[in-house]
Amino acid sequence: MTAIAAKIQSGKILISDGAWGTFLQQKGLAPGECPELWNITHPNDVFDIAKSYIDAGSDMIETNSFGGSSFKLTAYGLSDKVYEINKAAAEISRKAAGTNRHVLGSIGPSGKMIMMGDITYDDFYEAFKHQAIALADGGADAMVVETMSDLDEAKAAVHACLDNTNCEVICTMTFEKSGDSGFHTMMGVTPAQMTEELVALGTHIIGANCGNGIQNMIGIVQEIRKVNKTIPILIHANAGAPVYKDGQTIFPETPEQMAEFVKILIDSGANIIGGCCGTTPNHIRKIAQLVRQ
Protein backbone atom coordinates (compact mmCIF):
# COMPACT_ATOMS: atom_id res chain seq x y z
CA MET A 1 0.00 0.00 0.00
CA THR A 2 1.29 3.47 -0.87
CA ALA A 3 2.05 5.51 2.24
CA ILE A 4 -0.49 8.16 3.26
CA ALA A 5 1.99 11.01 2.97
CA ALA A 6 2.96 9.87 -0.53
CA LYS A 7 -0.69 9.82 -1.65
CA ILE A 8 -1.04 13.38 -0.37
CA GLN A 9 2.12 14.47 -2.09
CA SER A 10 0.54 13.27 -5.34
CA GLY A 11 -2.35 15.68 -4.75
CA LYS A 12 -5.01 13.44 -3.18
CA ILE A 13 -7.42 14.57 -0.48
CA LEU A 14 -8.11 11.65 1.86
CA ILE A 15 -11.01 10.85 4.15
CA SER A 16 -10.48 9.63 7.69
CA ASP A 17 -13.06 8.27 10.15
CA GLY A 18 -15.38 9.74 12.80
CA ALA A 19 -15.91 9.33 16.53
CA TRP A 20 -15.26 6.13 18.43
CA GLY A 21 -15.86 7.10 22.06
CA THR A 22 -19.32 8.55 21.59
CA PHE A 23 -20.19 5.63 19.25
CA LEU A 24 -19.19 3.09 21.92
CA GLN A 25 -21.39 4.89 24.41
CA GLN A 26 -24.31 4.51 22.05
CA LYS A 27 -23.59 0.82 21.87
CA GLY A 28 -23.90 0.58 25.63
CA LEU A 29 -20.47 1.44 27.05
CA ALA A 30 -21.34 2.57 30.58
CA PRO A 31 -19.74 5.55 32.35
CA GLY A 32 -16.74 4.28 34.30
CA GLU A 33 -16.22 1.29 32.01
CA CYS A 34 -12.88 0.92 30.18
CA PRO A 35 -13.59 1.57 26.47
CA GLU A 36 -10.47 -0.27 25.32
CA LEU A 37 -11.39 -3.45 27.19
CA TRP A 38 -14.23 -3.80 24.69
CA ASN A 39 -11.60 -4.97 22.16
CA ILE A 40 -11.52 -8.17 24.21
CA THR A 41 -15.04 -8.35 25.65
CA HIS A 42 -17.12 -6.90 22.76
CA PRO A 43 -14.98 -7.32 19.63
CA ASN A 44 -18.03 -7.51 17.36
CA ASP A 45 -19.33 -4.13 18.51
CA VAL A 46 -15.93 -2.57 17.98
CA PHE A 47 -15.72 -4.20 14.55
CA ASP A 48 -19.15 -2.75 13.66
CA ILE A 49 -17.86 0.75 14.33
CA ALA A 50 -14.73 0.23 12.26
CA LYS A 51 -16.74 -1.33 9.42
CA SER A 52 -19.35 1.41 9.43
CA TYR A 53 -16.65 4.00 8.71
CA ILE A 54 -15.13 1.89 5.95
CA ASP A 55 -18.61 1.57 4.44
CA ALA A 56 -19.07 5.33 4.74
CA GLY A 57 -16.01 5.89 2.57
CA SER A 58 -13.06 6.33 4.95
CA ASP A 59 -9.63 5.83 3.39
CA MET A 60 -8.28 5.21 6.88
CA ILE A 61 -9.74 4.21 10.23
CA GLU A 62 -8.43 4.46 13.75
CA THR A 63 -8.22 1.79 16.43
CA ASN A 64 -10.11 1.64 19.72
CA SER A 65 -6.99 2.37 21.76
CA PHE A 66 -7.11 6.09 22.64
CA GLY A 67 -6.79 5.26 26.34
CA GLY A 68 -4.70 2.12 25.76
CA SER A 69 -1.43 3.32 27.28
CA SER A 70 -0.38 1.84 30.59
CA PHE A 71 -1.18 5.18 32.25
CA LYS A 72 -4.86 4.84 31.49
CA LEU A 73 -5.22 1.06 31.71
CA THR A 74 -3.63 1.06 35.18
CA ALA A 75 -6.57 3.10 36.43
CA TYR A 76 -8.80 0.13 35.50
CA GLY A 77 -6.45 -2.46 36.98
CA LEU A 78 -5.49 -3.59 33.47
CA SER A 79 -1.81 -2.65 33.42
CA ASP A 80 -0.79 -6.20 32.51
CA LYS A 81 -3.06 -6.18 29.44
CA VAL A 82 -1.48 -3.31 27.48
CA TYR A 83 -0.12 -5.56 24.73
CA GLU A 84 -3.20 -7.74 24.41
CA ILE A 85 -5.69 -4.86 24.33
CA ASN A 86 -3.77 -2.74 21.83
CA LYS A 87 -2.94 -5.62 19.53
CA ALA A 88 -6.61 -6.64 19.51
CA ALA A 89 -7.61 -3.04 18.73
CA ALA A 90 -5.43 -3.00 15.62
CA GLU A 91 -6.51 -6.48 14.53
CA ILE A 92 -10.18 -5.49 14.64
CA SER A 93 -9.62 -2.34 12.59
CA ARG A 94 -7.41 -4.20 10.13
CA LYS A 95 -10.10 -6.82 9.63
CA ALA A 96 -12.56 -4.05 8.75
CA ALA A 97 -10.10 -2.08 6.62
CA GLY A 98 -8.83 -4.94 4.48
CA THR A 99 -5.53 -4.51 2.72
CA ASN A 100 -6.06 -1.28 0.83
CA ARG A 101 -7.27 1.09 3.54
CA HIS A 102 -5.06 2.42 6.30
CA VAL A 103 -5.26 1.57 9.99
CA LEU A 104 -4.11 4.34 12.34
CA GLY A 105 -3.16 3.15 15.82
CA SER A 106 -4.70 5.69 18.21
CA ILE A 107 -2.52 6.94 21.07
CA GLY A 108 -4.08 9.45 23.48
CA PRO A 109 -2.58 11.57 26.27
CA SER A 110 -1.60 10.17 29.65
CA GLY A 111 -3.19 12.82 31.84
CA LYS A 112 0.18 13.45 33.51
CA MET A 113 2.53 16.40 33.27
CA ILE A 114 6.32 16.48 33.21
CA MET A 115 6.50 20.00 34.59
CA MET A 116 4.62 19.04 37.74
CA GLY A 117 7.15 16.32 38.44
CA ASP A 118 4.42 13.67 37.93
CA ILE A 119 6.50 11.88 35.37
CA THR A 120 9.66 11.99 33.27
CA TYR A 121 10.20 12.08 29.52
CA ASP A 122 11.59 8.55 29.68
CA ASP A 123 8.46 7.25 31.44
CA PHE A 124 6.36 8.69 28.63
CA TYR A 125 8.63 7.20 25.98
CA GLU A 126 8.58 3.70 27.51
CA ALA A 127 4.81 3.60 27.92
CA PHE A 128 4.05 4.88 24.42
CA LYS A 129 6.66 2.51 22.98
CA HIS A 130 4.84 -0.52 24.41
CA GLN A 131 1.52 0.72 23.10
CA ALA A 132 2.89 1.48 19.62
CA ILE A 133 4.61 -1.90 19.25
CA ALA A 134 1.39 -3.72 20.13
CA LEU A 135 -0.62 -1.63 17.66
CA ALA A 136 1.91 -2.29 14.89
CA ASP A 137 1.93 -6.01 15.69
CA GLY A 138 -1.87 -6.00 15.38
CA GLY A 139 -1.66 -4.56 11.86
CA ALA A 140 -1.66 -0.77 12.11
CA ASP A 141 0.33 0.85 9.28
CA ALA A 142 0.31 4.34 10.83
CA MET A 143 0.12 5.78 14.35
CA VAL A 144 -1.96 8.77 15.33
CA VAL A 145 -0.83 10.50 18.50
CA GLU A 146 -3.88 12.65 19.22
CA THR A 147 -5.64 15.12 21.51
CA MET A 148 -2.27 16.25 22.82
CA SER A 149 -1.95 19.57 24.62
CA ASP A 150 1.63 19.37 25.91
CA LEU A 151 4.50 19.34 23.40
CA ASP A 152 6.87 17.29 25.55
CA GLU A 153 4.36 14.50 25.85
CA ALA A 154 3.52 14.67 22.13
CA LYS A 155 7.20 14.54 21.23
CA ALA A 156 7.87 11.57 23.51
CA ALA A 157 5.00 9.67 21.88
CA VAL A 158 6.08 10.58 18.33
CA HIS A 159 9.65 9.58 19.11
CA ALA A 160 8.53 6.25 20.57
CA CYS A 161 6.51 5.50 17.41
CA LEU A 162 9.26 6.55 14.99
CA ASP A 163 11.99 4.62 16.79
CA ASN A 164 10.13 1.38 17.44
CA THR A 165 7.78 0.80 14.49
CA ASN A 166 7.91 1.11 10.71
CA CYS A 167 4.65 3.04 10.74
CA GLU A 168 3.97 6.51 9.42
CA VAL A 169 3.46 8.85 12.35
CA ILE A 170 0.67 11.39 12.61
CA CYS A 171 0.36 13.80 15.53
CA THR A 172 -2.58 16.08 16.25
CA MET A 173 -3.12 18.49 19.11
CA THR A 174 -6.29 20.05 20.53
CA PHE A 175 -6.55 23.83 20.24
CA GLU A 176 -8.96 26.37 21.62
CA LYS A 177 -9.54 29.85 20.35
CA SER A 178 -7.99 32.26 22.81
CA GLY A 179 -9.57 35.64 22.24
CA ASP A 180 -7.81 37.74 19.63
CA SER A 181 -4.47 36.02 20.13
CA GLY A 182 -5.19 33.08 17.85
CA PHE A 183 -5.24 29.46 18.99
CA HIS A 184 -3.56 27.68 21.90
CA THR A 185 -3.71 24.25 23.48
CA MET A 186 -4.62 24.40 27.14
CA MET A 187 -0.88 24.19 27.84
CA GLY A 188 -0.31 27.28 25.70
CA VAL A 189 1.12 25.64 22.55
CA THR A 190 0.28 27.45 19.29
CA PRO A 191 -0.27 25.72 15.93
CA ALA A 192 2.98 27.33 14.67
CA GLN A 193 5.00 25.99 17.62
CA MET A 194 3.54 22.54 17.17
CA THR A 195 4.39 22.60 13.47
CA GLU A 196 7.97 23.67 13.94
CA GLU A 197 8.76 21.18 16.68
CA LEU A 198 6.94 18.16 15.27
CA VAL A 199 8.24 18.61 11.73
CA ALA A 200 11.79 18.91 13.06
CA LEU A 201 11.29 15.57 14.79
CA GLY A 202 10.36 13.88 11.51
CA THR A 203 6.61 13.51 12.11
CA HIS A 204 5.04 12.59 8.76
CA ILE A 205 1.65 14.23 9.18
CA ILE A 206 0.45 16.81 11.70
CA GLY A 207 -2.84 18.48 12.48
CA ALA A 208 -5.60 19.13 14.98
CA ASN A 209 -8.42 17.11 16.50
CA CYS A 210 -11.34 17.53 18.88
CA GLY A 211 -12.06 21.06 20.09
CA ASN A 212 -15.10 23.16 19.43
CA GLY A 213 -16.17 22.32 15.90
CA ILE A 214 -14.98 22.48 12.34
CA GLN A 215 -15.15 26.25 11.87
CA ASN A 216 -12.21 26.85 14.24
CA MET A 217 -10.16 24.32 12.28
CA ILE A 218 -9.93 26.72 9.34
CA GLY A 219 -7.97 29.24 11.41
CA ILE A 220 -5.78 26.47 12.82
CA VAL A 221 -4.92 25.14 9.34
CA GLN A 222 -4.11 28.68 8.22
CA GLU A 223 -1.75 29.14 11.17
CA ILE A 224 0.03 25.87 10.32
CA ARG A 225 0.33 26.81 6.65
CA LYS A 226 1.86 30.18 7.55
CA VAL A 227 4.93 28.37 8.85
CA ASN A 228 4.95 25.25 6.66
CA LYS A 229 3.59 24.90 3.14
CA THR A 230 4.14 21.19 2.56
CA ILE A 231 3.66 19.08 5.69
CA PRO A 232 0.49 16.98 5.23
CA ILE A 233 -2.32 18.17 7.54
CA LEU A 234 -4.99 15.95 9.09
CA ILE A 235 -8.10 17.48 10.68
CA HIS A 236 -10.51 15.57 12.96
CA ALA A 237 -13.13 18.09 14.07
CA ASN A 238 -15.87 17.51 16.64
CA ALA A 239 -19.47 17.87 15.56
CA GLY A 240 -19.49 21.15 17.48
CA ALA A 241 -18.94 21.64 21.22
CA PRO A 242 -20.95 19.21 23.36
CA VAL A 243 -24.11 20.57 24.96
CA TYR A 244 -26.00 18.98 27.79
CA LYS A 245 -29.73 18.92 27.38
CA ASP A 246 -32.35 17.04 29.39
CA GLY A 247 -29.82 14.56 30.73
CA GLN A 248 -28.28 13.91 27.31
CA THR A 249 -25.07 14.95 25.63
CA ILE A 250 -25.61 16.38 22.19
CA PHE A 251 -23.03 17.29 19.59
CA PRO A 252 -24.97 19.87 17.63
CA GLU A 253 -23.49 19.93 14.12
CA THR A 254 -25.28 17.86 11.49
CA PRO A 255 -23.44 16.24 8.55
CA GLU A 256 -24.72 19.06 6.32
CA GLN A 257 -23.49 21.77 8.70
CA MET A 258 -20.04 20.23 8.93
CA ALA A 259 -19.85 19.67 5.18
CA GLU A 260 -20.37 23.37 4.58
CA PHE A 261 -16.85 24.06 5.86
CA VAL A 262 -15.03 21.22 4.16
CA LYS A 263 -14.20 23.04 0.94
CA ILE A 264 -12.72 26.08 2.67
CA LEU A 265 -10.81 23.80 5.02
CA ILE A 266 -9.22 22.07 2.02
CA ASP A 267 -8.59 25.38 0.26
CA SER A 268 -6.82 26.55 3.41
CA GLY A 269 -4.44 23.59 3.16
CA ALA A 270 -5.92 20.54 4.91
CA ASN A 271 -5.18 17.19 3.21
CA ILE A 272 -7.03 14.63 5.30
CA ILE A 273 -10.50 15.25 6.73
CA GLY A 274 -12.31 13.20 9.32
CA GLY A 275 -14.23 13.72 12.54
CA CYS A 276 -13.81 13.54 16.30
CA CYS A 277 -16.39 13.43 19.10
CA GLY A 278 -20.02 13.37 18.01
CA THR A 279 -19.33 12.68 14.33
CA THR A 280 -20.98 9.58 12.85
CA PRO A 281 -20.71 7.49 9.68
CA ASN A 282 -23.30 9.88 8.20
CA HIS A 283 -20.96 12.82 8.75
CA ILE A 284 -18.13 10.93 7.08
CA ARG A 285 -20.32 9.78 4.18
CA LYS A 286 -21.38 13.36 3.51
CA ILE A 287 -17.79 14.65 3.66
CA ALA A 288 -16.55 11.83 1.40
CA GLN A 289 -19.27 12.55 -1.19
CA LEU A 290 -18.37 16.20 -1.22
CA VAL A 291 -14.63 15.62 -1.55
CA ARG A 292 -14.95 12.97 -4.25
CA GLN A 293 -17.47 14.66 -6.52
Binding site: P31, M113, M115, M116, S181, H184, M186, V243, G247
Partner: protein, 224 residues
Protein backbone atom coordinates in the same frame (compact mmCIF):
# COMPACT_ATOMS: atom_id res chain seq x y z
CA UNK B 1 16.12 44.34 52.13
CA UNK B 2 13.42 46.05 54.15
CA UNK B 3 10.10 44.34 54.66
CA UNK B 4 8.36 46.11 51.80
CA UNK B 5 11.08 45.09 49.39
CA UNK B 6 10.90 41.53 50.67
CA UNK B 7 7.13 41.40 50.24
CA UNK B 8 7.45 42.78 46.74
CA UNK B 9 10.07 40.14 45.90
CA UNK B 10 7.96 37.30 47.26
CA UNK B 11 5.02 38.56 45.26
CA UNK B 12 7.14 38.57 42.13
CA UNK B 13 8.47 35.06 42.78
CA UNK B 14 4.96 33.68 43.19
CA UNK B 15 3.55 35.54 40.21
CA UNK B 16 6.29 34.25 37.90
CA UNK B 17 6.75 30.85 39.49
CA UNK B 18 10.16 31.13 41.12
CA UNK B 19 9.89 28.30 43.64
CA UNK B 20 13.37 28.35 45.18
CA UNK B 21 16.97 29.20 44.42
CA UNK B 22 17.77 25.83 42.83
CA UNK B 23 15.08 25.70 40.17
CA UNK B 24 16.12 27.04 36.75
CA UNK B 25 12.66 28.46 36.05
CA UNK B 26 11.95 31.24 35.10
CA UNK B 27 15.19 31.71 33.14
CA UNK B 28 15.52 35.43 33.92
CA UNK B 29 15.50 34.71 37.69
CA UNK B 30 18.02 31.86 37.56
CA UNK B 31 20.23 31.62 40.62
CA UNK B 32 18.18 34.13 42.61
CA UNK B 33 16.35 33.39 45.84
CA UNK B 34 12.83 32.04 45.37
CA UNK B 35 9.56 32.13 47.29
CA UNK B 36 10.96 29.55 49.71
CA UNK B 37 14.11 31.42 50.79
CA UNK B 38 12.54 34.86 50.75
CA UNK B 39 9.60 33.84 52.94
CA UNK B 40 11.95 32.30 55.47
CA UNK B 41 14.03 35.47 55.41
CA UNK B 42 10.98 37.69 55.85
CA UNK B 43 9.75 35.73 58.86
CA UNK B 44 13.22 35.84 60.41
CA UNK B 45 13.26 39.60 59.97
CA UNK B 46 9.93 39.80 61.79
CA UNK B 47 7.63 40.56 58.86
CA UNK B 48 4.14 39.60 60.11
CA UNK B 49 2.98 36.35 58.49
CA UNK B 50 -0.39 37.94 57.78
CA UNK B 51 1.38 40.55 55.65
CA UNK B 52 3.12 37.84 53.69
CA UNK B 53 -0.21 36.21 53.01
CA UNK B 54 -2.12 39.38 52.18
CA UNK B 55 0.48 41.59 50.54
CA UNK B 56 2.50 38.99 48.69
CA UNK B 57 0.65 35.72 48.10
CA UNK B 58 -2.91 36.95 47.65
CA UNK B 59 -1.81 39.83 45.42
CA UNK B 60 0.33 37.53 43.28
CA UNK B 61 -2.38 34.92 42.86
CA UNK B 62 -4.90 37.64 42.00
CA UNK B 63 -2.70 38.71 39.11
CA UNK B 64 -2.06 35.13 38.05
CA UNK B 65 -5.80 34.40 38.04
CA UNK B 66 -6.53 37.53 36.05
CA UNK B 67 -3.85 36.80 33.45
CA UNK B 68 -5.25 33.29 33.08
CA UNK B 69 -8.77 34.62 32.57
CA UNK B 70 -7.40 37.02 29.95
CA UNK B 71 -5.59 34.12 28.22
CA UNK B 72 -2.24 35.83 28.70
CA UNK B 73 -0.89 32.77 30.53
CA UNK B 74 -1.86 29.09 30.36
CA UNK B 75 -2.05 26.04 32.58
CA UNK B 76 1.73 25.54 33.03
CA UNK B 77 2.34 29.10 34.25
CA UNK B 78 -0.61 28.75 36.64
CA UNK B 79 0.68 25.49 38.04
CA UNK B 80 4.20 26.76 38.51
CA UNK B 81 2.90 29.90 40.25
CA UNK B 82 0.88 27.71 42.57
CA UNK B 83 3.99 25.67 43.29
CA UNK B 84 5.83 28.83 44.30
CA UNK B 85 2.87 29.86 46.43
CA UNK B 86 2.99 26.50 48.20
CA UNK B 87 6.72 26.90 48.84
CA UNK B 88 5.93 30.11 50.69
CA UNK B 89 2.79 28.77 52.35
CA UNK B 90 4.75 25.94 54.02
CA UNK B 91 6.43 28.53 56.22
CA UNK B 92 3.12 30.18 57.07
CA UNK B 93 1.29 26.98 58.02
CA UNK B 94 2.39 27.07 61.70
CA UNK B 95 0.86 30.53 62.05
CA UNK B 96 -2.43 29.34 60.56
CA UNK B 97 -2.47 26.45 63.00
CA UNK B 98 -1.73 28.63 66.02
CA UNK B 99 -4.51 30.99 64.93
CA UNK B 100 -2.10 33.88 64.63
CA UNK B 101 -3.13 34.28 61.03
CA UNK B 102 -6.82 34.01 60.24
CA UNK B 103 -8.05 32.70 56.96
CA UNK B 104 -11.32 33.67 55.36
CA UNK B 105 -12.95 30.28 55.78
CA UNK B 106 -12.81 26.72 54.58
CA UNK B 107 -13.37 25.64 50.99
CA UNK B 108 -13.92 21.97 50.24
CA UNK B 109 -13.47 21.01 46.61
CA UNK B 110 -13.62 17.83 44.56
CA UNK B 111 -14.31 16.45 41.10
CA UNK B 112 -17.59 14.54 41.14
CA UNK B 113 -17.98 10.75 41.07
CA UNK B 114 -17.16 9.14 37.74
CA UNK B 115 -15.00 12.05 36.60
CA UNK B 116 -11.20 11.98 36.67
CA UNK B 117 -10.46 15.43 35.23
CA UNK B 118 -8.59 17.47 37.81
CA UNK B 119 -6.58 20.18 36.09
CA UNK B 120 -9.33 22.80 36.28
CA UNK B 121 -10.31 21.75 39.80
CA UNK B 122 -6.67 22.02 40.93
CA UNK B 123 -6.36 25.51 39.50
CA UNK B 124 -9.49 26.63 41.32
CA UNK B 125 -8.16 25.11 44.56
CA UNK B 126 -4.83 26.91 44.18
CA UNK B 127 -6.26 30.30 43.37
CA UNK B 128 -8.79 30.03 46.21
CA UNK B 129 -6.02 29.07 48.61
CA UNK B 130 -4.02 31.97 47.26
CA UNK B 131 -6.99 34.21 48.00
CA UNK B 132 -6.67 33.40 51.69
CA UNK B 133 -8.97 30.41 52.17
CA UNK B 134 -8.15 27.10 53.76
CA UNK B 135 -8.67 24.50 51.06
CA UNK B 136 -9.55 20.85 51.54
CA UNK B 137 -9.05 19.07 48.22
CA UNK B 138 -10.88 15.75 48.09
CA UNK B 139 -9.40 14.82 44.72
CA UNK B 140 -11.28 13.19 41.84
CA UNK B 141 -14.15 10.72 41.63
CA UNK B 142 -15.66 12.04 44.88
CA UNK B 143 -19.09 10.75 45.90
CA UNK B 144 -21.79 12.45 48.00
CA UNK B 145 -20.86 10.52 51.12
CA UNK B 146 -17.27 11.79 51.01
CA UNK B 147 -18.42 15.39 50.58
CA UNK B 148 -20.92 15.03 53.44
CA UNK B 149 -18.35 13.48 55.80
CA UNK B 150 -16.01 16.39 55.17
CA UNK B 151 -18.74 18.98 55.66
CA UNK B 152 -19.53 17.39 59.04
CA UNK B 153 -16.15 18.59 60.30
CA UNK B 154 -16.92 22.22 59.47
CA UNK B 155 -20.50 23.00 58.66
CA UNK B 156 -19.67 26.56 57.66
CA UNK B 157 -17.41 25.38 54.85
CA UNK B 158 -18.25 26.28 51.28
CA UNK B 159 -18.20 23.37 48.85
CA UNK B 160 -16.99 23.42 45.25
CA UNK B 161 -17.86 20.70 42.76
CA UNK B 162 -16.18 20.23 39.40
CA UNK B 163 -17.40 18.20 36.41
CA UNK B 164 -15.86 18.06 32.94
CA UNK B 165 -17.97 15.39 31.32
CA UNK B 166 -21.55 15.86 30.30
CA UNK B 167 -22.12 12.33 31.59
CA UNK B 168 -20.92 13.26 35.08
CA UNK B 169 -23.13 16.33 35.18
CA UNK B 170 -25.82 13.83 36.20
CA UNK B 171 -23.60 12.75 39.06
CA UNK B 172 -23.11 16.40 40.04
CA UNK B 173 -26.85 16.84 40.15
CA UNK B 174 -27.38 13.90 42.49
CA UNK B 175 -24.48 14.91 44.75
CA UNK B 176 -25.85 18.44 45.06
CA UNK B 177 -29.25 16.93 45.88
CA UNK B 178 -27.78 14.64 48.55
CA UNK B 179 -25.75 17.39 50.21
CA UNK B 180 -28.67 19.81 50.22
CA UNK B 181 -30.95 17.14 51.69
CA UNK B 182 -28.58 16.70 54.63
CA UNK B 183 -27.22 20.27 54.95
CA UNK B 184 -29.63 22.73 53.29
CA UNK B 185 -27.56 25.73 54.44
CA UNK B 186 -24.20 24.67 53.08
CA UNK B 187 -23.26 26.77 50.10
CA UNK B 188 -22.37 24.92 46.93
CA UNK B 189 -20.56 26.40 43.96
CA UNK B 190 -20.14 24.42 40.78
CA UNK B 191 -17.94 24.68 37.71
CA UNK B 192 -16.25 22.90 34.82
CA UNK B 193 -16.26 23.39 31.07
CA UNK B 194 -19.78 22.08 30.32
CA UNK B 195 -21.42 23.73 33.36
CA UNK B 196 -23.64 26.78 32.91
CA UNK B 197 -25.61 29.02 35.21
CA UNK B 198 -28.80 27.55 33.78
CA UNK B 199 -27.61 24.12 34.91
CA UNK B 200 -26.86 25.53 38.38
CA UNK B 201 -30.43 26.72 38.64
CA UNK B 202 -31.75 23.42 37.40
CA UNK B 203 -29.92 21.41 40.07
CA UNK B 204 -30.27 23.89 42.92
CA UNK B 205 -26.64 24.80 43.56
CA UNK B 206 -25.88 28.27 44.95
CA UNK B 207 -23.11 29.53 42.75
CA UNK B 208 -21.54 28.97 39.39
CA UNK B 209 -18.27 30.38 38.08
CA UNK B 210 -16.55 29.94 34.75
CA UNK B 211 -13.04 30.34 36.12
CA UNK B 212 -11.02 30.56 39.38
CA UNK B 213 -11.39 34.34 39.51
CA UNK B 214 -15.16 33.90 39.49
CA UNK B 215 -14.91 31.37 42.31
CA UNK B 216 -12.89 33.82 44.41
CA UNK B 217 -15.38 36.61 43.73
CA UNK B 218 -18.22 34.35 44.90
CA UNK B 219 -16.35 33.29 48.04
CA UNK B 220 -15.24 36.76 48.98
CA UNK B 221 -18.83 37.86 48.74
CA UNK B 222 -19.74 35.25 51.34
CA UNK B 223 -16.84 36.13 53.61
CA UNK B 224 -17.78 39.83 54.02
Amino acid sequence: MNSNELLEKIRECVEFGKVNKDVPYPPNMKGMDGADELTKMALEQGVPPADILNEALIKAMERVGQKFTDKKIFVPQMLIAAKAMNASMVHLKPFFQSGQVQRKGKFIIGTVAGDLHDIGKNLVAMIVEGAGWEVVDLGVDVNAQKFIQTIEEDKKAVVGLSALLTTTMASMKSIVGDIKAKYPDVRLIIGGAPITDAFRQEIGADGYAADPQGAVAYLNNIAV
